[in-house]
């Protein structure tokens, strides 16, 4: 069996609050293999985003171990986790989070700036990524000039531009109408077909249906973890 992209063992996360520590994740165990497409579901406040932030090396667990591509993240320094976010992980956010003053091409090229890649190559790769998500002709537009669905495509292009092996998406369709949501999910599925591992959070069953595996959180614990039912039907 291939080495897991993500392996979580006995993970706890407690937030410090004025009322004392608040346990947001309790004894979470999970392994995700290369090429998987996992939907994380659960009611509001169940700990999905907390979990995702830890997966993305933006936050650290209070207890337990997290291996990303076999490396124990707890042992990495700040610059090393920054490098992981830069090269290994691609983030897609609910609110798109494009930088408003930059052209779409510059937004998409931004991760490459932090990899120290030169101007010409940045430009070329950003253009290729925009072409891939069908927005090649908007390279020099500002984010405010395009629709939400288009912005999310650009955000996906940005997440892909440094060729990560893992995409993390926290409610990527949360701000989009159902038609556009389906389009975006089509993009994710195409990426997954190329072999990229995808983990996304969603509240909606018809979004989760695009994934191959569904994990459900409740009160900081995983209460359900199974392959998607009727996966073939949903893909039609």
């Amino acid at each position: 069996m291939a080495e897991a992209v993500i392996r979580i063992e006995a993970l706890f996360k407690a937030y410090d609050t004025p009322a004392g520590p608040f346990p947001a994740l309790k004894d979470v165990n999970l392994a995700i293999l290369p090429g998987e497409f996992v939907a994380i579901m659960g009611p509001s406040g169940s700990g999905k985003s907390t979990f995702m932030n830890i997966l993305g090396c933006l936050d650290r667990p209070s207890e337990g171990r997290y291996f990303l591509s076999g490396r124990n993240v707890a042992e990495l320094g700040k610059d090393e986790t920054a490098a992981l976010r830069n090269r290994t992980i691609g983030f897609v956010f609910q609110g798109f989070n494009l930088l408003p003053r930059m052209t779409l091409a510059d937004n998409v090229a931004l991760p490459l700036v932090y990899s120290g890649i030169g101007h010409a190559e940045r430009r070329e790769r950003a253009q290729a990524m925009l072409d891939k998500v069908g927005l090649g002709s908007y390279a020099d537009s500002l984010p405010s000039r395009i629709s939400g669905g288009q912005q999310q495509r650009v955000a996906i292009a940005r997440a892909l531009t440094n060729r990560p092996s893992l995409i993390l998406a926290d409610e990527p369709t949360g701000n989009l109408d159902s038609h556009t949501s389906q389009e975006i999910m089509g993009v994710f599925r195409a990426l997954n077909d190329e072999g990229i591992t995808i983990v996304l959070i969603t509240h909606e069953n018809d979004i989760a249906a695009h994934a191959k595996r569904q994990v459900r959180f409740l009160d900081g614990r995983i209460v359900h973890d199974a392959p998607t039912q009727q996966h073939e039907a949903a893909s039609c």
Binding site: L99, R101, L110
Partner: protein
Amino acid sequence: MLGAMLHEAWRAMGANRLRTLLTMLGMVIGVGAVVLMMAIGQGAQYAVAQTISSMGSNIFVVLSGYTSAGGVRSGSGNAPTLNVADANAIAELDGVDTVAPVHWGSVQMVYGPNNWNAWVQGTTPSYLDARSWPLADGAAFTDSDVRAATRVALIGRTVAQNLFGDESPVGKTFRIGQAPFVVLGVLAPKGQNLEGRDQDDLVVMPLTTAQRRVFGTPFQGSVRQILVKAASAEAMPAVEKSIEALLRQRHRLRDAADNDFTLRNLTAVADTAAETTRVMSLLLGAIASVSLLVGGIGIMNIMLVSVTERTREIGIRMAIGARERDILAQFLLEAIIISVIGCAIGLVLGVGGAALANQLAKMTVVVSGSSVLTAFAVAAGVGIFFGFYPAKKAARLDPIEALRYQ
């Protein structure tokens, strides 16, 4: 990487142009003030240094007349207490380089239709040596002129201009009263002295000529002052003591009696003047530096606002792989660019202001390369110093908190 960062800094500054310009204005004013004040301060120091070197170095002046701690008691116009013999005796002292007895007064001079009232110094040829005063034209009079009391004169530039206009004065004859005087030479210009008097408005002639043929003093051989040049700066304290002792002895003053002469160390006066201008120029610089400091605080203020405004952007950048040092560098670079551009503009305005002060107020100004370099270094330093805290604050943000910031 640097190219991309410069580009981004430029874009961020351009996004809020008015604010960037106002922040820059703080630096412009600060640097402009420092450059202008340094130019004026250094100019004043330069002017004083020029004046001091025009005075001649290591010079004492012995003035005729009683003094007390309160100052000159007996008017120097009364019976002179110094004479040529005193001067000759001083010349024999150890550590004395040159001595020139001087008898002076003011006279009305006439050349053709021109009239001019000038200061006459009757003295010996060593006078020019003691004051390190070269001739611009012609030749000096000699000891034989002094012995024969010939009617010859050296004139300063101001006299030359007012009496002779465009003509070359050397060899020309002017009159004092009815007596004709031949101009032997023209003195090199020296400008103003420390009291602001024009040193070039004077006539130098043999001592005997002044005494007998111009002023007709009733006291044979008396002089109003003796100029003494010491051999070196180190010799001056000893020379001062021995001159005083010698004159007291020669004038037969009892122990309790006051000096009937005044001994002034011109070098000490000059040092005081130089020190005064130095302190003044430091003070000007210090005051101007305060405005630079205020400019720096302005940068810090705006950078803090900018970090807060761009918290979300910082979070996004961190999420896609920016390291702490990338964020730090981004904000630091912005602060440095603002301060360096502000500095460049301030420099231009400061130098322009100095040129204007020179043109309009006839001030001596000195803009040295070192003061320009200092201004640039200080501006970059101000950018780094005042930009560092906000930049560090940005770099230390928690990515999750930053992403959540609205």
